[in-house]
Symmetry: C2
Subunit: 326 residues, 2 copies
């Protein structure tokens, strides 16, 4: 069993450097941009993506330098830009336990600051001057923006298939985490199997991460995740626990589930009823099983690398996905 404290202690030096670069590197001509960006960038994010790039570089046996840290924060900027545009899209009231940015500053400002962060991220990649990295980043952002739209269009489709769900979370989450890991390998000058393995590792980790995230939206406690629970359900967003339950449900329960998720106003009781129905068909435990499956495949990619403290750390991080509560 991996403990959160153990991981946090192990990554503390890297996280500190990432925070420093995020703070120092981030300056805009327009003070207001700093204000909004700071709000989203320093809201207690996990820095998972920059951290993974750094660890991927080290896993390849390369040293990480100040240049590595300058580069890695671009993944946090891209992520923050997505969150900002997503806030508008999802009309989420809370994000990481605080009011969503667009409720404080309005949609307009939030869209534009998202654009700014996105531009900054591309700018960092250009300053790195590596065409392979730019190739990965630009393919990634295209896939991501298509994914956001797919997700929006899927809101009307309560009978989303498991396959379509994976397509959405690939683009929404897995592709960026995958890019961070792949860029770590490129930054370490590894263009062969290491690059391929790290890209696949990141992708598999990304699937596991998003599946767990979607599970926590049903089963997490609001005080721990800092998010409203049941947000996805209330918005009619179909995720894996729902899909897997629907698959097995008898006709009556199936119709009830579909009716509940399509409601315009979902009450606490509606959500509790849906949870009970999903539970009845092992929707939660089977979702956990799927996440475990991705984690195991991700670990298999790591095993291709020589054993090292960095590999150990990445393994623990990967396993932690399954037990995390926030």
């Amino acid at each position: 069993m991996v403990s959160k404290q153990e991981i946090l202690t192990a990554i503390a030096p890297e996280l500190e450097k990432i925070e420093t670069v995020l703070q120092r590197n981030f300056r805009s001509y327009v003070p207001f941009i700093n204000e909004v960006s700071q709000y989203i960038l320093f809201a207690g994010g996990k820095r998972l993506r920059p951290l993974l790039m750094i660890l991927a570089t080290r896993l390849c046996g390369a040293e990480t330098t100040s240049q590595s840290y300058r580069l890695c924060v671009l993944f946090e900027y891209l992520h923050a830009a997505t969150l900002l545009h997503d806030d508008v899209v999802d009309e989420a009231r809370f994000r990481r336990g605080r009011r969503a940015a667009h409720h404080l500053w309005g949609n307009q400002a939030v869209i534009l600051v998202g654009d700014f962060l996105y531009s900054r991220a591309i700018r960092i990649a250009v300053e790195e001057g590596n065409m392979d990295i730019l190739d990965v980043i630009s393919r990634t952002t295209t896939l991501m923006s298509e994914g956001e739209i797919l997700q929006l269009l899927n809101l009307d489709n309560a009978e989303l298939s498991e396959k379509d769900y994976y397509e959405v979370i690939y683009r929404k989450t897995a592709v960026l985490i995958s890019a961070a890991c792949e860029v770590g390998a490129i930054h370490a000058n590894r263009d062969g199997w290491q690059r391929d393995s790290l890209r696949r590792y990141g992708e598999l980790l990304g699937y596991a991460f998003q599946i767990t995230d979607d599970l926590l939206d049903y089963t997490g406690a609001s005080s721990e995740t800092g998010k409203d629970i049941g947000n996805d359900f209330k918005e009619g967003k179909v995720t894996l626990p729902f899909i897997l339950a629907l698959e097995k449900a008898n006709k009556e329960d199936r119709e009830r589930l579909l009716l509940l998720i399509k409601k315009n106003q979902v009450s606490k009781e509606d959500f509790r009823e849906a949870c009970n129905l999903i539970q009845k068909y092992q929707g939660f435990s089977r979702t956990r099983e799927k996440a475990r499956h991705f984690v195991e495949k991700a670990l298999a990619e790591l095993e291709k690398f020589e054993l090292s403290p960095t590999r150990r750390l990445l393994e623990k991080l990967t396993q932690f996905i399954l037990v995390r509560k926030t």
Copy 2:
């Protein structure tokens, strides 16, 4: 006097190629993206930016190839992305004579399709594989996104200075037109004075273009521009005619102008009264004078190049800015 028909005839072959590439090049995995993008991309835009890149390359004495056309459309994608995000921001009811995209599909979809077009533009630049071009593009998009935010923040400031106004339109318009011209030179492998001159030419042309645009928002006829007239004023957006009038107005008229532009609901009569006051202080004629000044400086940059049919065409295009009605 330059006629619109004369210019349109001269650029017809280039425009046709640009349209073909825009249509062919543009395919997304998600059909819905095509639908929204088509709406904004094929709504009768002027293709000014791609056209300028092509003409800039030729002005440098280089041939334009199919690769040039593939590259130049990125400027139309960037422009369209800005328009989409701007539509949300401005809450404009009409854009090029049709309903603004966000009224047809909702803010959420429009934001995301804007993101997609932006990603596509970066992708095209990466595929070109020229780091200098990527450098120009990434600096440009950062400046532009800051500019959009500046403009939003300035909405509260009815006493915007002429200097601040130039800062806004530099970032909003001039920098992208400048980038298109500069990239034309880079694409032609001209890194010395030609690149510098074309960057400056584009910037000066951009100022002239936006100043005229802002003037037409007061003096254009809705049937010709395809836009509501007085849009900027109704939104409280301060542009050059207003600034120049305010500068000269007596205390009473000054206060009246400020009161009118700050109104939450601007009636037709309010707008007409404001126009009369601006007219009284030569706000329109002095704005036209400023635009002419930029056009003359832009023409001076063109004169540094050898005389050629392309230079002649660019000169006519530049002069046309001053007489255009749409």
